[in-house]
C-alpha cells in the first residue's frame, strides 16, 4: 500500500496530516476514504484541535500487537484529567476507534466510581435536580451503598 497522506481538520479549523494506512484505524475515516477517496481535507467538526492532536498521536503509535493493550492503557492514564478524557472518549466514539474509546471510558469509569455524589456532579458538571427529600428517600433505600 502506498503511503498516502490524509489531512484532517479540527473544529477550530486546524489541519493535521496523517498517513492514510494509520488513519483508517478509525472506522469512520475508513468508510469516508472508501466512499469518495477522500482526496481533499476531512473535516471533523466535533473534535477540537487539542483532542485531535491526541488522537493523531495515538493513531501514529508504532506498537507490537502484544504490547498494544498496555500502550493504550498507559496512553489514557497519562491524560488522567476528566475533561480531556471525555473529549478523547467522545472523539474516539465519533471516529469509531474502539480500543481508544474503550480505554478512555474505562478510565473515566475508574475515576468516578469512588467519587462522592457531589464530586461526580462537579466532575461531570451535572445539576442536582432532586429536592433534599427525594435525595434522602434514595439514600435510605440504598443505605448500604453510601
Amino acid at each position: 500500500m502506498s503511503k498516502k497522506t490524509l489531512t484532517l481538520m479540527s473544529k477550530d479549523k486546524q489541519l493535521f496530516n496523517i498517513e492514510e494506512h494509520l488513519a483508517v484505524q478509525s472506522v469512520t475515516i475508513r468508510n469516508m476514504v472508501k466512499e469518495d477517496g477522500a482526496s481533499s481535507v476531512i473535516p471533523l467538526p466535533r473534535v477540537d484541535s487539542e483532542t485531535l492532536a491526541l488522537v493523531i498521536e495515538y493513531l501514529n503509535r508504532q506498537q507490537a500487537p502484544e504490547e498494544d493493550e498496555d500502550y493504550v492503557k498507559k496512553f489514557v492514564d497519562e491524560r488522567g484529567e476528566i475533561p480531556t478524557l471525555l473529549e478523547l472518549a467522545q472523539a474516539a466514539l465519533d471516529l469509531d476507534i474502539k480500543k481508544l474509546m474503550d480505554a478512555a471510558c474505562m478510565k473515566v469509569a475508574d475515576l468516578i466510581k469512588d467519587f462522592t455524589l457531589e464530586e461526580v456532579r462537579e466532575a461531570l458538571r451535572i445539576e442536582n435536580d432532586r429536592t433534599p427529600e427525594e435525595e434522602k428517600a434514595i439514600r435510605d433505600e440504598f443505605q448500604w451503598a453510601f
Partner: protein
C-alpha cells in the same frame, strides 16, 4: 440548559451513547449510589436496556474472571461453626495468572439468627445472581414462618449486596408427600427473566414441577407430563452452567436400575421439557457442562482418559463432536466443567479442586474441598432487589 458550542463538553450535552459507554464500565455498587446524582441518571440506570448492556459487558469481559467458591453447610458438617453468621462460606479466586485468593471480596449475606438454619444449600447461579436455601428450625418456623414449611429460598446479588426472599410455593417442601426435591436456577434471555425450577418426586414416583419467575415474583405449576421413562435425575452441577440456550439440562436415567441415560432439557421461556440424545461414549464417570456457550459432556473413561464431547448445533444429536480440549492434562481427576472463559475445573483424588487453562496448559490447584461446593463466576449485576431487613 443548552451550553454554547464553545464550552467544554459536559456530561449534560454528551450524547447518551457516551454516557452509557462510561456508565456500563462502572461496577454495580457505585452505580447504585449514583442513582442519586440526578433524576435523569436515576432514569438511565433503571432502564432494562441499560441493565442488560451493563450485564453484557460484565459477562464478556473475560480479562479478569473471578470465581466464587460457594460451600454448603450440611446438618452434620464438622466444619460449620455452630455460632452466628458463619453458616456458609464464599471465597473469591482470581482465575487469571498468577492465581490469587481475594479475601473479603464478597461478604456472605447475614441471613441467620440463632433460631434458624440447620442446613444451607446453594441451588444455582446465573449472571451474577446466586440462589440458595436454608431450613429453619422447626420450632421457630412453626411460630413465625409457617407458610414456608421450613424451607426459605432467597436470591442474592453479591455485587449489590441485596437479597430477595421468594414467596411461598404451592407445593411446599420438605413435606410428607414428597421424597426428593431438586432445584435449578437459570436465566431465559427471550423473556429476560430469572427462574427457579423445582422438581419433586411424589410418594408414588410421580414427578411434580413448579417454577418461580423473578419477573412475576410468583410460582407456577408445570402441567406437562414429561420424560415418561426417565426415572432418576443426576443433579451434579458444580459450575452452575444452567441457562445454556435458555434451557436447563440434566442427565436422566431411563428405567429403574438402568445405566441408560438421556439429557432432559427444560426450556425456561416456553416452560416445556424435551429430550436430547447423548453421543456414544464410554460410560464411567461423566457430567454435563458448557464450553464456549455450547452444551458439552465431560467423560472420564476407565483407562483415565478425559473426553469432551461438544454439541455443535443445539438439540441436534448428530452434531456431537469429540474434542481434545484437555488431552494435555495428566493425572487422575474428576471433571467438573468449564468456567465462562473456558478454563477447565476439576477435582483431584485428594479432595482439592484445580483449574486448567487449555491455552497456556497451566494447572493450578486452588483449594481443598471440605464440603459440597459450587464454583460460580462473579458477575457485576444491576438486577435491583430490595435489601432484606432482618
Amino acid at each position: 440548559m443548552a451550553s454554547p458550542p464553545e464550552q467544554p463538553t459536559t456530561i449534560q450535552n454528551l450524547p447518551g451513547e457516551l454516557l452509557s459507554e462510561i456508565m456500563i464500565r462502572v461496577p454495580a455498587k457505585p452505580l447504585a449510589r449514583m442513582r442519586s446524582v440526578s433524576k435523569s441518571w436515576n432514569h438511565l440506570l433503571s432502564q432494562p436496556s441499560f441493565i442488560k448492556s451493563h450485564l453484557h459487558r460484565s459477562l464478556h469481559n473475560n480479562n479478569d474472571e473471578i470465581l466464587l467458591v460457594l460451600a454448603d453447610r450440611g446438618f452434620d458438617d464438622p466444619f460449620a461453626d455452630r455460632g452466628f453468621h458463619d453458616t456458609f462460606s464464599v471465597t473469591a479466586h482470581f482465575s487469571g495468572s498468577p492465581h490469587l485468593e481475594l479475601t473479603d471480596f464478597v461478604k456472605p449475606p447475614v441471613v441467620m439468627s440463632r433460631f434458624e438454619s440447620e442446613t444451607f444449600e446453594f441451588l444455582g447461579s446465573v449472571n451474577g445472581l446466586i440462589c440458595f436455601c436454608y431450613r429453619l428450625d422447626y420450632v421457630y418456623s412453626a411460630f413465625h414462618l409457617e407458610s414456608y414449611n421450613g424451607l426459605v429460598i432467597q436470591i442474592w446479588n453479591p455485587s449489590l449486596s441485596t437479597i430477595l426472599a421468594l414467596p411461598p410455593c404451592q407445593l411446599p417442601y420438605p413435606n410428607v408427600n414428597f421424597t426428593y426435591a431438586c432445584f435449578r436456577f437459570g436465566y431465559d434471555p427471550k423473556t429476560d427473566d430469572y427462574k427457579l425450577f423445582k422438581l419433586m418426586r411424589g410418594v408414588k414416583e410421580s414427578l411434580h414441577v413448579e417454577v418461580y419467575s423473578l419477573r412475576k415474583d410468583s410460582w407456577g405449576l408445570i402441567t406437562q407430563r414429561f420424560s415418561w421413562h426417565v426415572t432418576q435425575f443426576s443433579n451434579e452441577d458444580k459450575v452452575c452452567v444452567d441457562g445454556c440456550d435458555g434451557c436447563l439440562h440434566w442427565l436422566g436415567y431411563i428405567g429403574e436400575g438402568s445405566m441408560l441415560q438421556t439429557i432432559v432439557a427444560f426450556d425456561l421461556g416456553m416452560e416445556t421439557f424435551s429430550e436430547i440424545s447423548l453421543p456414544k461414549f464410554e460410560r464411567f464417570w461423566h457430567n454435563l457442562g458448557v464450553i464456549a456457550g455450547k452444551l458439552c459432556l465431560l467423560s472420564r473413561t476407565k483407562n483415565l482418559e478425559c473426553e469432551v464431547w461438544v454439541m455443535n448445533e443445539y438439540g441436534v444429536a448428530k452434531s456431537w463432536v469429540k474434542r481434545n480440549v484437555i488431552s494435555e492434562l495428566r493425572g487422575v481427576f474428576y471433571p467438573y466443567g468449564f468456567t465462562p472463559s473456558n478454563k477447565f475445573l476439576f477435582a483431584t483424588l485428594d479432595d482439592s479442586f484445580g483449574l486448567y487453562d487449555p491455552i497456556s496448559a497451566n494447572t493450578k490447584i486452588m483449594a481443598s474441598i471440605k464440603r459440597s461446593i459450587k464454583v460460580v463466576r462473579y458477575v457485576e449485576s444491576l438486577v435491583w432487589m430490595a435489601p432484606v431487613r432482618i
